[in-house]
């Protein structure tokens, strides 16, 4: 443990990436998920860099088209609006992404899952049917991708469209097929998504998180799911958390038992 008088070296800033956890910022995962380890129970699929770029480019194109389409709808005369609205870009783009997804392009699978609600030709009642195979494939083949956190986030967001039992199964498989921070994320997203519908599974995930992932930043988030406002008042035990300095030094609040400690929540802004 560094004492207050230690000079702090201003080294690299992986702390920022490590602490943002959750969506998108999965860069840190490369350390624990690394391509050097075998896929274990899963069959991982490596996409070529051009394939990844293809999906990214297509997605950017789609977003642009949607923006333009929105403008058209806004500017159209009332009577024309419905016709124009029905010509949503998703009609052209969905098949393109579907083709890539059929070749097991993970990013394409994820795009489809994220845009199911854009696609009006998929009836509400059929959304689960569309989503299930997408998430199945994502979890089976892409659990080691550095963007896998995005897939977990997607599943979390779409959980309401699926049966709770299926959601629980998905997160369970995701947790089983990953390790380190990735597994922690799967458990955390799972706990969050299931707390209302299946609190038993959700709490089991939280127990696993608190036991196995003390050194991951999801630990603090798991603690936050257990702790209530009434637990953090004068007289109560301060809940443990994982902190990390800009030098990459990780510590737990518990490490400071035996000392009078001041926690200073602050910002330079």
């Amino acid at each position: 443990m560094s004492s207050p008088t230690d000079t702090m070296k201003r080294t690299t800033f992986l702390a920022a990436a490590l602490l943002t956890g959750g969506t998108g910022a999965f860069a840190f995962a490369s350390a624990s998920l690394g391509g050097t380890e075998p896929a274990s129970a899963q069959e991982s699929v490596q996409e070529s860099a051009p394939a990844q770029d293809e999906v990214a480019a297509l997605a950017a194109e789609y977003d642009k088209a949607v923006k333009a389409h929105k403008k058209l709808v806004k500017e159209a005369k009332r009577l024309e609006r419905k016709a124009i609205r029905d010509q949503h870009p998703v009609k052209d783009y969905w098949p393109k992404f579907q083709k890539l997804a059929e070749a097991n392009n993970g990013r394409a699978l994820l795009w489809l899952a994220d845009h199911v609600t854009d696609n009006r030709s998929i009836k509400r009642a059929d959304r689960a049917k569309t989503l299930k195979p997408l998430y199945q494939a994502l979890i089976k083949h892409h659990g080691e991708k550095e963007w896998f956190g995005d897939a977990l986030n997607s599943l979390s967001k779409n959980a309401k469209m699926l049966e709770a039992a299926d959601v629980a199964e998905f997160f369970k498989s995701a947790a089983e097929g990953t390790k380190g921070e990735a597994r922690g994320l799967a458990l955390l997203y799972g706990a969050t998504a299931l707390m209302k519908e299946d609190s038993e599974t959700a709490n089991r995930f939280l127990d696993m998180l608190l036991k196995d992932h003390k050194s991951d930043h999801v630990y603090t988030k798991a603690q936050a799911m257990r702790v209530k406002p009434a637990d953090v008042v004068v007289g109560k035990q301060a809940p443990d958390f994982l902190g990390e300095t800009s030098d990459g030094f990780k510590f737990h609040l518990e490490d400071y038992k035996g000392k009078v400690t001041v926690l200073d929540f602050y910002g330079f802004w």
Binding site: R10, A15, V232, K236, Q237, G243, S246, Y256, T261
Partner: protein, 98 residues
């Protein structure tokens, strides 16, 4: 910050630790801030998601918590001057009274 610096210096040889928990600063702002304000004590960087703030239900800044040697919350509030007294009291108690 100068007040906290004084606090740290005053208790340099005591059973005391100051832990800063930074919230909502961009990585560069954070690094610069540490240098500019001479933060030599332990400071955790939370980034934008602030899981520690969420855990403690902290919404206003600065917020201070003082914990006794067993990790129990002895003070929770926003007064920098109040924490000085609480810290002193706890240290004295722990040393069997001064």
């Amino acid at each position: 910050m100068p007040h906290l610096k004084a606090l740290v210096e005053r208790h340099e040889n005591d059973n005391f630790e100051l832990i800063g928990i930074n919230t909502n600063d961009a990585p560069d702002t954070y690094k610069e801030g540490l240098e500019e304000h001479g933060v030599t004590w332990m400071s955790a960087y939370q980034g934008r998601q602030s899981p520690i703030s969420s855990l403690y239900g902290v919404t206003g800044y600065p917020t201070y918590l003082v914990l006794d040697v067993d990790g129990k919350i002895a003070y929770r509030g926003h007064s920098g001057t109040a924490i000085d007294k609480v810290v002193e009291g706890l240290l004295a108690k722990n040393e069997g009274g001064k």
